[in-house]
Amino acid sequence: MTNCKSVHENLFTFLDKELPSTLMQELDKHVEECAGCARLLSEFRSVMVLIEDQKSIEPRPFAETRILQGIESRLEKRQKSASPVFTRILQPVLISAGVLTALAIGYIIGSDVAGTHSPYSENIEMTETVRSDLNVPEFMADDIIYFTE
């Protein structure tokens, strides 16, 4: 027995004619006799018409042009925002590394030069010469005098 509940449960499928033919006929008959269901079905028909209207919606005029311009500017922005990784981070790092390398090379070269021409090295050579000239014996362990109380 078809009642209001079965109409309420099958409004979309009834309007889409997706129900078995016997149920379709029963619902049809009920709607003819029930004013409430008839009104509801009429509202749902209007809703279906609205959905149909919405299907035919079109993009606004010049939407393509606006969208293409938008795409271009977004891609440009992304390219620009990608470059600061180099300019903000990599560039300073590379410059700092270069300066440090230059300093290190300078230090190494500097210490090499200092090592060959140091005034201290000359003094050592002179001391050795004087020692050999005077024939002073090498410092011996036995010569150590321990001072004790």
Binding site: F12, L50, Q54, K55, P59, R60, A63, I67, L68, R74
Partner: protein
């Protein structure tokens, strides 16, 4: 231009290929975004996002689905993300307006019946329909829009939403049932107000 030629052109960032892409898919992207977002300005903005995403990630497109399906999927995903972000913003707005004693949820209120009129006009009916569709769970709403507004077959919807055919059938059945219930409540409330 075949899909493969189009993809090659987009990878090279050829301007004619990008223009062809927009001309070919604009209606599909705008319509889908509009039906999900209910706002044409937002739909156009989102379309730009979709195309930029296509341009930047088309090199990863493996051709498991058709280009059309892939673009549908991107549009749906971006639209749903947009809605989620907006919901959060709306929540904050509502919270703020609650303390300012103003109504921040005006767009979701039920429209007042037109005076001296026994039937709903199209504007009111559209508002009721929009609210009812928007109140559906995310996946039911997506399936319903793709099926009813975009007239896509269950198989296509299944591919776009990455679901089985049976899941789509069940989603659509539940969407229709829920929508029916919500619309019946709205229409009854509306006629009671008169």
């Amino acid at each position: 231009m075949t899909d493969q030629e189009l993809i090659t052109g987009i990878i090279k960032r050829d301007k004619p290929a990008i223009e062809f892409l927009v001309r070919k898919y604009n209606k599909q992207v705008i319509k889908t975004a509009f039906h999900l977002l209910q706002n044409m300005d937002d739909a156009e903005d989102l379309a730009q996002d979709v195309y930029v995403e296509i341009i930047e990630s088309v090199k990863h497109f493996k051709g498991a689905a058709t280009l059309t399906t892939w673009i549908y999927r991107l549009t749906v995903n971006k639209s749903l993300n947009f809605i989620r972000k907006n919901k959060r913003k709306q929540l904050v707005k509502n919270f703020e307006s609650f303390f300012r004693n103003t109504d921040g949820s005006r767009s979701h209120t039920f429209p007042e019946p037109a005076a001296n009129d026994n039937s709903l006009d199209d504007k009111e009916r559209r508002h009721i329909l929009e609210n009812a569709v928007n109140s559906l769970p995310e996946n039911q709403k997506t399936a319903f829009i793709l099926n009813k507004y975009e007239e896509l077959a269950y198989k296509e919807i299944a591919e776009i939403m990455n679901l089985s055919l049976a899941s789509v059938e069940s989603l659509l059945h539940r969407a229709k049932q829920n929508l029916q219930k919500k619309l019946i409540v709205h229409f009854s409330e509306y006629s009671n107000k008169k």
